[in-house]
Amino acid sequence: MKKLVAIAAVLMLVMVGSAIAVLAQGYATQPADAKIVPLGEEGTAYENQEPGVQGGTFYCAAISDPKKWNYVTSHETSTTQYCFLMLKGLVDSNPINSAIEPELAKSWDVSEDGLVLTFHLREGINWSDGTPFTADDVVFSFNDLYYNEDVETDTRDILILPDDTYPVVEKVDDYTVTVTLSMTFRPILNSIGAPILPKHALAQYVHKLNPDVPVGTFNSAWGLDTDPAELVGMGPFMVESYAPDQHVTLVRNPYYYHYDANGTQLPYFDKYVILTVASQDVSLLKFRNGELDALGIRATDVPILKREEAVKDLTVLVDADVAVYGTSWIGINQDIGLADGTYENLRTLYRTRDFRAAMSHLVDKQAMIDTLYNGLAVPQWSPVSYLSPFYAGRDYYGGPVTETDAVVFEYSLDKAAALLDGIGIIDRDGDGWRDYEDGTRVEMELNTNAGNTVREGVSLIVSDRASKIGLKLNFVPVDFNTLVNKLFASTGEMIVLGLTGGNEPNNGANVYSSGGGLHFWHYSAVDEPTELEKKIDELLDAGVSTLDNDEAFEVYKEYQITLAKDDLGLVYTVNPAFTYAFFNKVGNANISSPIATPSGTNGLTMDLCFFK
């Protein structure tokens, strides 16, 4: 009996010891509610991936340093790329197929009217410091941070509903949260996925919860001088150290709740180092020198790396069919001179739909793709990003090009000239340049931000093609801030620029709705929208008020066609294709998903990569 007790005691000790050893190594035991990523499983988004092995340090490069560690108050990607590695939201979109997936919430129910969402949180998962995650963290993030007027955050603007109210977040019990809306809002799952922050670590900085600190203290919390050990998150990696202009070192979160189907905890890498390399030419050299494991590259880098593919055992991933998120366009200011009654001829011209159609025919997209992107770009016609599930172009794009069944305005000097002839813009004095009806020459200025070589190239190509049919378009590059000022003051004539984009078409509402803050080509629409703009407003409303994605797709299809074919508020140009290079020793790097960090490292899939 004594022997048995002794053996049992020894066994117990061994078990406890190995449990401690496992924890000391940084691997927590798998919680019951862990998220299983089905790598390599057929029929899932991950069927082309494979389960990996733990270990190793991964190196890549970013163009600039982080500015702080505080997601809530950050405004730009050089900071948020680190925050997204450290934090998780209730739900997130899958980096491969864009479907909304459970994250901190393991499941959710939607009430029949779509106004109440009930999120069931994962139980037994922990923050990176070992503190259990509960509904309090969720309620704190929304009610005390994002909705708190003392806190400077643009996430508040993403959460706001079209009727100017916010989703109400309430705790039901420790692992249940309800979100109540005042109106049906289909994209709610996109915006409600904002990162959740740890109440136990941050409540001390919020004046509302801790009156000892002054108002606004939170805005400077978690700055670059904060000891990284104080940062707490739920994401795959946590910041370990930071050297200005040199690197940020991240280390695996020992409590991360993602596991592969074999029961191996993610991420696979022990460490993840992001070097700050300000020059893209130098990051290319560093990659070729073997110092970086992966690199987001420019189209012009592709030929150099392609030559070295076999020798250096690397892969250049070029997906010419996958354009990066965002839109590039020429804005034609229909309000030019409206404030002081000048530019009357030009304003009338810019407000003529056929003129804007003629401009669309002058956009020589193939020349732009060939000369500016080495052939690695796609023509763009829609306000919705190419990778969005709501992108309506696949049927149209590349298909038959006629005015009736497609919205593609192919490059055609003849069609452009015919349209201009049709609206009475013809050469009246025989000097080779087209004139208004009163005989004065049509002369326009095209601006873009100086130093952006691609936009400068686009501008040059457009003004060159315009000159071929006698349309005088003077290209004047200006400083970026001057350009933005022109845009908002409605003093620019034509402007070549781009905007960021994502999966959700409604995120463009601030741009395309008649009252939108970025409706810069026709600000006066806020008081007197055109019939088409009214239709676009209605379509935008219809797109968010249905919960049926197929119905929403039909709505957005009409929205895109109306904008691109009839309204032509913006004339679209081309968008670069997704280009990315990695050494073949990196497993699971073959996901062409531009939902990536600026460093081009497939940001959201970093936790799946491993060294073979």
Binding site: V277, D281, K286, E291, N481, L499, G517
Partner: protein
């Protein structure tokens, strides 16, 4: 002399205030402000923009902004907060070891440049119009005229594409190879630092050599034509004594004042090289503040550079008095 130094130091204050005022006006003349970029974000509403404008004080007239900033300095010694990092401006500029690295990189480069170009200048002057003189001048000017960013890129490219240093486990750019990140100091780490710094010495050094070399050459040639040098030669002194003991000592005076004046170059002379070679310097922080129009960081940087310039000038004058007994300040 001491009263002179005190007086010069006191003069600096009104000068710095004037510099700050002019800088502030210039920042206001620059189109846009820190929030211009945020304006272009489709997801930021006007309400939030207005809130931010008010929080940063950017909604006030510029003289009011200047006065509030100035008052803060006098009453609290607070030079303002960076909009981007929400930290004090000098913390933002000098964060980490930026100031130390800036001084280390710049002073070693300067030392090397001087150690090489002064003897070369002397050689050039004593071999006037000989092929070697022309060759030195040619290479000096070549170094001066090749743009630093280009030269730096070429050096890195040669290392990577021609010498394939990656095969020997060596990295390019930055301060250390990846394997030394987060490790403590060792001989190997120091050696690796030297490996990463020599391109900076080469690129910044060659751009400064031509000037120094030609100054030294010209100054020495002037001196050599003076009568006392002829006297020294006439009384039969060996040539090296004439040159090094009599001529060079006098010829080097103008260069000593140049040494003082190159002090501001220590903190603000190598931006482009630092960007390409990925070195952590104060100017890079200043440059990024300029791009973002993080206005108080720009102000802090300008004041810091101006202060260095003023101190440099003062040092130049003091050094000059010290090496040249004919100069006296009262």
């Amino acid at each position: 002399m001491i009263t002179y130094i005190i007086r010069r130091t006191l003069y600096m204050l009104p000068l710095l205030i004037l510099v700050s005022l002019i800088s502030f006006v210039l920042i206001q003349i620059m189109p846009g402000d820190y929030l211009t970029r945020a304006q272009m974000n489709p997801q930021i509403t006007q309400h939030t923009l207005n809130q931010m404008k008010a929080r940063y004080g950017l909604d006030k007239p510029f003289l009011v902004q200047y006065w509030l900033w100035f008052k803060q300095i006098i009453t609290k010694g607070d030079f303002g907060t960076s909009f981007e990092t929400m930290r004090p401006v000098f913390w933002t500029l000098f964060m980490g070891d930026r100031l130390m690295w800036t001084l280390i990189i710049a002073s070693t480069t300067m030392l090397l440049t001087w150690l090489i170009s002064i003897p070369l200048g002397i050689y050039s002057a004593t071999h006037q119009y000989k092929p070697s003189d022309h060759a030195l001048t040619f290479f000096g000017f070549l170094g001066l005229s090749v743009p630093n960013f280009f030269f730096a890129l070429v050096v890195l490219w040669v290392l990577v594409a021609i010498f394939k240093v990656g095969n020997y486990g060596l990295g390019v750019g930055g301060l250390f190879d990846n394997r030394f990140i987060g490790t403590s100091w060792s001989l190997a780490k120091f050696g690796n630092l030297l490996w990463h710094i020599w391109p900076a010495w080469l690129v910044i050094g060659t751009s400064g050599m031509a000037g120094l070399l030609r100054y030294m050459r010209g100054s020495l040639l002037d001196t050599l034509s003076l009568q006392y040098v002829q006297t020294a030669r006439a009384k039969g002194l060996p040539e090296h004594v004439v040159i090094y003991k009599h001529a060079v000592r006098n010829a080097i005076n103008p260069l000593v004042s140049m040494l003082g004046m190159s002090l501001p170059g220590l903190v603000s002379g190598s931006l482009v090289t630092a960007i390409v070679l990925n070195l952590p310097t104060v100017e890079r922080a200043f440059w990024s503040a300029l791009q973002m129009q993080d206005q108080y960081v720009i102000m802090g940087g300008l004041l810091f550079f101006s202060l260095f310039l003023l101190i440099g000038n003062l040092l130049a004058d003091i050094l000059l008095a010290w090496v040249d007994p004919r100069i006296r300040y009262s």
